[in-house]
């Protein structure tokens, strides 16, 4: 079985944000700056890879009826690890992301991959799938936050890019997040429509 396509599908064809529209809560909440977005993406990727691997390893041992609670505990364990590591090494980032780090537990993307993919595939396939999804998630998150940071503050990763531009503060606020994600989903639909 080829592993490369399993990896690549998460980035474009089944991008968790733009195509599957999964796990949007953190996407909207922490995409105010690219820095926050990358931190969130890294944490989510870590949880995805860790939980996908463990779920794939224990899939035979778990009775079918209680598999969802078991998966949630596995995920919650990895989220706790990510939370503690972040608190220890990057407290500023942890403060910026706030309650959205513990909320990775209930991110439908993570549980969705565990249930739909890892619980019935091999360890290597699950690992690659999770990595692809994580990278796709991070890229999508980075794209949205780049648009919002550029329009909302005229900066990218803290560097001023558009000197004469008067930033539209709304883009850094919640309505801006909803508008950007709506616009992007529409844009991707348009591209999809053109291709077909």
């Amino acid at each position: 079985m080829k592993l490369l396509p399993e990896f690549l599908k998460g980035i474009i064809k089944q991008n968790p944000i733009f195509v599957l529209a999964l796990g949007l809560c953190p996407v909207l909440a922490v995409s105010t700056s690219v820095k926050n977005a990358l931190g969130m993406g890294a944490a989510a990727t870590f949880v995805l890879v860790g939980s996908n691997c463990i779920v794939s390893l224990i899939k035979k041992a778990v009775p079918d009826k209680i598999r969802i609670p078991c998966f949630i505990i596995v995920i919650a364990t990895f989220v706790t690890i990510a939370e503690l590591v972040m608190k220890a090494y990057s407290p500023a980032l942890n403060r910026a992301l706030g309650i959205y780090v513990p909320l990775i537990v209930v991110n439908c993307m993570v549980l969705g991959r565990a249930e739909a993919f890892a619980s019935r595939r091999t360890l290597s396939a699950s690992f690659v799938d999770a990595l692809g999804m994580g990278v796709g998630f991070t890229l999508g998150l980075a794209l949205i936050s780049a648009v919002r940071e550029l329009l909302g503050s005229g900066q990218l990763l803290g560097y001023t890019l558009l000197p004469g531009f008067q930033p539209a503060l709304m883009m850094a606020l919640p309505p801006g997040a909803l508008l950007v994600i709506g616009g992007m989903l529409g844009f991707f639909n348009l591209l999809k429509g053109r291709r077909e």
């Binding site: 529209a21 999964l22 949007l24 809560c25 953190p26 909207l28 909440a29 969802i68 609670p69 949630i72 505990i73 919650a76 364990t77 989220v79 706790t80 939370e83 503690l84 706030g98 309650i99 513990p102 909320l103 537990v105 209930v106 991110n107 439908c108 549980l111 709304m170 606020l173 919640p174 309505p175 801006g176 997040a177 909803l178 508008l179 994600i181 709506g182 616009g183 989903l185 529409g186 844009f187 639909n189 348009l190 429509g193």
Partner: protein
């Protein structure tokens, strides 16, 4: 603890920091189930119920179990377990004793376990109403009240959105932005209008 505190929590959780439109919690269910008014109402009442119940239980667990045992770092994992078993319990009770109610919102109950609004409120309560491992005065009441208000804010956003989307069904919305994109744009404008309550003071 006075009326002003309650009013501040009320306005803040319903309008200024609306759980869906500003904190983006429970967004998946908001987008997925707001296509018609009736399911939206059923889902909202189920969420309201579970949020209030889990706010109370997680507060007790946090204050009397996690803090004395110095296990506060297990907050996430224990809260999700509490919520999952709470939802399971509610489902069984409702199915057994209130079959009519079960038919209305039973199918939404399992979904609520992974509704970020529920866990979000529980975590938010411990962030807001605990200070360095000690509950602030009135913290239990505030937690429950915040749960109620967040539930109301969720219900408000769901109901308005579902009525709007029922109307949009008959609109000539361009092909590319039908369904999700237009729902997000509508939510954005709603969130923009709720900004009118910014800086509320009494």
């Amino acid at each position: 603890m006075n009326a002003g505190h309650f009013l501040a929590i009320f306005i803040s959780s319903i309008f200024v920091s609306n759980v869906i439109l500003s904190r983006f919690l429970g967004l998946c269910s908001f987008i997925a189930i707001s296509k018609e008014t009736r399911p939206a109402l059923a889902m909202s009442s189920a969420v309201l119920f579970v949020i209030v119940m889990s706010s109370a239980i997680t507060w007790v667990v946090y204050n009397y179990l996690l803090i004395p045992l110095d296990l506060a770092y297990l907050r996430t994992i224990s809260f999700i377990l509490v919520i999952a078993s709470c939802v399971q319990l509610v489902e069984m009770v409702v199915r057994k004793f209130m079959p009519a109610l079960y038919r209305v919102f039973g199918i939404y109950l399992p979904l609520i376990t992974v509704n970020c609004a529920v866990l979000g409120v529980a975590v938010l309560n411990t962030d807001m109403f605990f200070s360095s491992g000690k509950p602030l005065p009135g913290s239990f009441i505030f937690s429950i009240f915040q749960g109620v208000c967040v539930g109301i804010g969720y219900t408000l956003a769901m109901l308005l959105m579902s009525a709007i989307r029922e109307r949009l069904e008959y609109s000539r919305v361009p092909e590319a932005v039908r369904e999700f994109p237009i729902a997000f744009v509508t939510a954005s404008l709603m969130s923009l209008s709720f900004m009118g309550f910014n800086g509320f003071r009494f």
